[in-house]
Amino acid sequence: MTFNASSYVDPEFGSVDRRIFWSPEIYELELERIFARSWLFVAHESQLEKPGSFLTTYMGQDPVIVSRDAQGINVFLNSCPHRGNRVCFADSGESRQFTCNYHGWAFGLDGALKRMPKMGIYKATPGFRMEDWGLKRARVASYKGLVFANFDEAAPSLDEWLGDFRWYLDAVLDAEDGGTEFLPGGATRSVLNCNWKFPADNFVGDIYHALWTHLGGAEPTLGPHGGVKVENERSWHVSVNGHGWEFNDSFYGNAATMGDREVLRYMRSRQEAITKRLGEFRANMWGSVASSTIFPNFSFLPGYFTFRTFQPKGPTRTEIHAWTLVPRNMPDEIKDRFRRGSMRTFSPGGILEMDDGENWEHSTAVNAGWVTRHQRLCYAMNPQDEMAETGLAGNVRAGQLSDFNQREFYRQWMKMMDASSWQDIELAPVAGPAAEAVE
């Protein structure tokens, strides 16, 4: 299709054409140009500790198996190259191989074809080579426990893709010794009739909605009118390659809405040590009033420590898969309090999340109207904001009540949609403290 993304997004003033949330053609191009060549989150290493352990998930609409063998973590398509059938139907488990239901083709933990019934016939087939017919593999790389995969051989490394954002990610991934883990039991999963970009853009920079959307959910734990303190004093947006984090320096502002005093007491007891480890600025990001998206569809909330993917299932359908991440060395009782606190706020039964889905669904569905579809959406809040005087890495702006990160999210979207290959996509040079980690 002839498509000019820059005519759909104005990242300077801040406006977005609504057809990008509705058009099946644009969605098809997103699968190719965004999802098939971005580094996508697939697992946390704690989910795959033993050789033989596996889980199944999605990269865009492509089903994949993530498995650990003696060499490490592999990611490959969950589709048999013989007749295309899905190979593994379990969400997770342990296995020595994956055997297709249809004709019994069997694949190893690295996706390689190992055997099939009547193997002799294939062996006698001129030109047939077992190594040509394995499950298609993706590139795999990790950052401090988070495993990402990418099907594009031409894509830059995960370190270049995350760039200076890694330095900020350490505020949740490296706040304590021993790294992090996902709490057990898999993901809470639910379906929304919305375009995947609405939840992703909500998490990349939209604290503004909490002041209104979440009043009903916040009142029981924080008092009348929510009590959520959101101001532009001592708060920031930071954006790198479309990844964004909006936050203040309240240390446990988000965690407070879980309404569990023991959690806050514990977090306070860790503040000094975390400050020593990360410095005051990043330590204050640990559980603060904040939200973040790693482009395109992997988001998290400090404080609740819910980590989630917004899996695209069509232009107007999205699945949320959500886990809770905790420091591995946290006491079991506090982990359990985070398990319950995060599920009671941010799961489909959570008193805060319940108020989000309807907004995103209706922001999507109204675009069925042709006239409606042709009125642009406003992302103009705080367009003249000043570069914050922090000396910090990335694109940092003062004030979290801003659409800055959302404009940068759509700028990245526009760049990738317009580029026919990775040669035409430029990533931000790594400039800040995170540069040390790049080879």
């Binding site: 009142e219 029981p220 008193i351 309807e358 907004n359």
Partner: protein, 205 residues
Amino acid sequence: MNASASTRPDYSTYPRLTMAEARDAARQLIAMRGAGSTVDDVRLLSLQRFYAMEARLLDEERYQEWYELLADDLFYWLPLRQNRHRREGGDGADPDAMAFFDDCKADIAVRVGRLASGLAWTEDPPTRHVYVISNVEGFETGVAGELEVHSTFIQYRNRSEHDDATIVGRRRDLLRIAGDGYMIARRLVLVPQSVLLTKNLSVFF
């Protein structure tokens, strides 16, 4: 804080379970497999009446009256369902795992507080509910005044113009006989969906 802030309920004083008590309750629910002798027909009829009344309270959003049916040591659990191979035990509910609901009575009070706040925009205009309860079976537990009750439900919701959601499932309850009625002390809600095919659970089961 304005004056009304001081009238906010102090949820920290509401009935709670310790973590160990909640785990014990979860294990008790997992073990409830209808092993006791069945209750007599008079008892069964009164259980059916109780569930019909409970369903009507929920349909009519009479949440405070429904809340009064909950015992102070309530454990209310809606675990995740997962797709696991049979050789790995299928999808048995795990008390330590993430869940959709893993609540004590104080948590239910917070949820009722959200609905009663007048600020939950996604419930205004109101949702219309229909709750159908069937397959009610009662069993003796061996503890005087306590009954194990299994039932199935269909919970249908519709709001706005076309928004609807149907949740079908199974419940296992531990009820306490209280005069002519019952108090709900434990409830396990088993929804067959591993991916919840609706956007939220702004409802009780």
